[in-house]
């Protein structure tokens, strides 16, 4: 039954990839959405089965024995435990909504392109489900690489546009760097524990004490974390995610916000026992997460592309999740992953609706006043913005507050204060976006915009309907449906993880078995998790911190309202006052340029002048051509011996025999 969950989208992929170009858009879209909805149904049924059997904490299915060499064996095995339960529901549920949304959003594409889009999207879902259901590192790695492939394919979906295909390559290459670390981590884990099965490794690790110095487990977890930084866009490998916005907007929502980029967080959660034994790595994870959150948040403040703001916001929120993982609050991190999936998918889909209405316009400076024309988009977008900003009562508040509380309670006051400041930034940049796009006056006429927007290519027109005479269409029904459902989710999703003061997190209790080594046999508790002992630190502290972060959220909204709604001149004045800082942020801290100078260009130069022009041309080609030249030169001389005269041959034969005989007779 578990196998059906990834298999259904895969069948959808096969159908659309094989026959999609020959059927209508309605058929292709129905196949894709049907596969996803069916998968969602099976996922729900599986989760129901898991919940209905109180004794067991996991469902497992071994599909087949995959690799068996010597003492190494790996099965293609799937396992549904509380952690993967959350993930499959997010992937199939939000995935289905995004599929439905896409049927309207991508409707401008030609039939084959439309089918290609949906086949990629289904393939992505299949791989993502394999990733989260895999019960050992190898199966996870299949999914891990598969989603990377689909991400590449979908970012470069409008491949005729240079920037899109470049962005796809960038994403793929940067991910490869992370994957290299991941593979090394898996190999080292196998060497250390003799298995690649998550359960086996967790059991083996649970018997050990935490590493006080930097040892093997620290190295394993650190290498795995390198993989996570690539997949989940953390420093130093976050640079691909903002560029990934070249893909269609629903793709950004599904892959680059809700699901794939959270794979790194999930992977750490999956190996929580292992990570708990490596405090050094956890510190690194927490610090990297916090710094990424802060850095991306500050960049997000000044970006003008609506999708890039959201991309940096995603990077920043992922940073929060890693902060949670790093302080040992695994459940809080997964909780934020889960709520983030709702409101960030909604934000992207909302921005997609805006872009759709404006025929491909993505520049915030050219928007404004869309509130009247796009009421559904506006209200759902506003809900998502409130949720991500951390306004009490909405999903983001509960999860973000949980992370900050656990950080503070774990004694990481510096990380907590940076996290708090970042949540202020989050509120500011999100409401800057809302005010610039939906409030105020439109900066330019729509006609002007539609001629100016960069079309992805002649055969790939930007998604969007032609609007007539300045009247903008709100989201069509399929898109509106997805927006509304996600908006409801953004409001309600947080209530399964209430803070301790309000009855405690049911999600956390549900997830607990996934983060301990014992499943089935009541026993080995994972190493003391930094956050859990802080849980009893007092409800007063929790309420106090909640008030502080609420103040930060509301303060951020107020600041954004002042600068971007009331007095826009003030924002420009501040930007001019701190021109250097503004330029630094607008240029994203010059990280791309620094990487270009320190990594890309040296590799280019070494490859071009060293490897190509010296090693390849001189050494390798030289050796091959040298052999050929030598043979040709000596043949030129030797062929003169072949005269064609039979009597000459007979003579040489004769004298040869005479010489040989003579040698033997007179030696």
């Amino acid at each position: 039954m578990l196998l059906l969950i990834p298999l259904l989208p895969f069948v959808g992929f096969l159908l659309n990839a094989s026959f999609g170009r020959r059927v209508s858009k309605t058929a292709a879209g129905s196949i894709a959405c049907g596969a996803m909805l069916a998968s969602f149904g099976v996922a729900l049924a599986s989760v129901w089965k898991l919940l209905a059997s109180p004794g067991s904490t996991a469902l497992a299915q071994t599909v087949f024995s995959w690799i068996s060499v010597g003492d190494f064996s790996a099965d293609f095995a799937l396992r549904l435990d509380p952690l993967s339960t959350v993930m499959i529901l997010v992937v199939t549920g939000i995935g289905s909504l995004i599929h439905i949304y896409s049927t309207a959003y991508m409707h401008e594409e030609s039939d084959p392109e439309y089918a290609r889009y949906f086949s990629y999207l289904n393939l992505f879902a299949a791989f993502m489900l394999v990733l989260v259901l895999g019960s050992n590192f190898l199966v996870m790695f299949v999914g891990w690489e598969g989603v990377g492939l689909c991400s590449y394919l979908l970012i470069g979906f409008w491949y005729q546009k240079k920037s899109a295909s470049d962005a796809g390559k960038k994403a793929f290459i940067v991910n490869r760097i992370g994957d290299f670390g991941f593979v090394l981590g898996v190999l080292l884990a196998f060497v250390r524990f003799g298995s690649v099965d998550f359960q086996a490794i967790a059991h083996a690790a649970a018997g050990l004490g935490p590493e006080t110095t930097f040892g093997t487990i620290s190295l394993i977890t650190l290498l795995l974390f390198v993989g996570a930084t690539g997949k989940s866009a953390q420093i130093p490998l976050y640079i691909w995610l903002p560029d990934a916005m070249e893909g269609p907007t629903p793709v950004s929502a599904l892959i680059h916000a809700a699901t794939m980029v959270t794979a790194g967080v999930y992977m750490i959660g999956r190996n929580a026992v292992l990570f708990s034994h490596a405090p050094e790595t956890l510190t690194i994870v927490a610090v990297v997460g916090t710094v990424t959150a802060l850095m991306a948040g500050t960049i997000g403040l000044v970006q003008n592309d609506i999708k890039r703001v959201l991309a940096y916001s995603t990077v920043s929120q992922l940073g929060y999740m890693f902060l949670a993982m790093g302080v040992g609050a695994y459940a809080a991190g997964i909780f934020h992953l889960y709520t983030h999936a709702f409101f960030k998918a909604l934000l992207f889909l909302g921005s997609g609706a805006v872009i759709h209405a404006l025929s491909g316009e993505q520049d915030l400076r050219k928007m404004g006043g869309l509130k009247k024309d796009l009421p559904i988009t506006y209200w759902t977008f506003l809900i998502a913005s409130l949720a991500i900003a951390g306004v009490p009562g909405l999903a983001g508040f509960f999860s973000k507050d949980e992370i900050l509380y656990r950080t503070f309670a774990g004694g990481h006051v510096v990380l907590w204060s940076v996290g708090l400041f970042t949540s202020l930034l989050t509120a500011i940049y999100m409401f800057r976006l809302v005010y610039l796009a939906f409030h105020g006056e439109r900066a330019a006429t729509p006609e002007h915009q539609s001629t100016e927007h960069p079309a992805p290519g002649i055969q790939h027109p930007a998604p969007g309907t032609r609007h007539h005479g300045g009247h903008l269409h709100d989201a069509p029904p399929a898109m509106a449906f997805a927006l509304v459902v996600l908006a409801v989710g953004s409001i309600l999703a947080g209530y399964i993880g209430l803070p301790a003061v309000a009855g405690g997190s049911r999600l956390e209790r549900f997830l607990e078995p996934s983060f301990t080594a014992s499943v089935g046999d009541a026993g080995v508790q994972a190493a003391p998790v930094a956050g859990t002992e802080g849980a009893s630190a007092g409800e007063g502290l929790e309420v106090g911190l909640m008030l502080v972060s609420t103040t930060a959220a509301l303060g951020g909204i107020a600041i954004a309202a002042f600068f971007f709604l009331k007095r826009k001149s003030a924002a420009d004045a501040v930007a001019a006052r701190f021109a250097g800082l503004h330029r630094l942020l607008a240029n994203k801290y010059y990280v791309d340029e620094i990487y270009d100078a320190t990594v890309v260009q040296p590799i280019r130069i070494i490859s071009e002048d060293g490897l190509w022009k010296t090693v390849d041309v001189r050494v390798i080609d030289g050796a091959v051509n040298g052999v050929a030249d030598t043979v040709q030169g000596s043949s030129e001389l030797l062929r003169r011996l072949q005269t064609g005269s039979v009597r000459a041959y007979a003579a040489s034969l004769f004298f040869g025999v005479v010489l040989i005989l003579g040698y033997y007779l007179w030696r």
Binding site: G644, R647, F654
Partner: protein
């Protein structure tokens, strides 16, 4: 009975005549005949040694050589005829096309 050396000398003389014929003559048929002379010189050596050493091996191998020589003569003459039809010539120096 004549000593072994006499047979070997005769055989050497015959072989030299044959070899000289192959090198010197400008007629393919003569060259073939010269090759036959060389073969028979070798046959004589075999028979002489077989007799002198009291073994039959020499006698037996001569039959093989004769068989092969007959076959070779048949094939050789056939080739010569077909060459002659092409070039109206039996001079081996006119057939030097098989080269680079």
């Amino acid at each position: 009975m004549a000593p072994l050396a006499d047979y070997l000398i005769l055989s050497g003389v015959l072989f030299s005549i044959g070899a000289a014929g192959v090198f010197v003559r400008r007629n393919l048929i003569t060259i073939l005949l010269s090759i036959e002379i060389m073969l028979n010189a070798v046959n004589l050596t075999f028979v002489a040694f077989g007799r002198a050493l009291g073994a039959v091996d020499g006698q037996i191998i001569v039959f093989f050589v004769m068989t092969v020589a007959a076959a070779e003569a048949a094939v050789g003459l056939a080739i010569v005829i077909s060459l002659f039809r092409h070039r109206e010539s039996l001079n081996p120096d006119t057939f030097t096309n098989l080269k680079w």
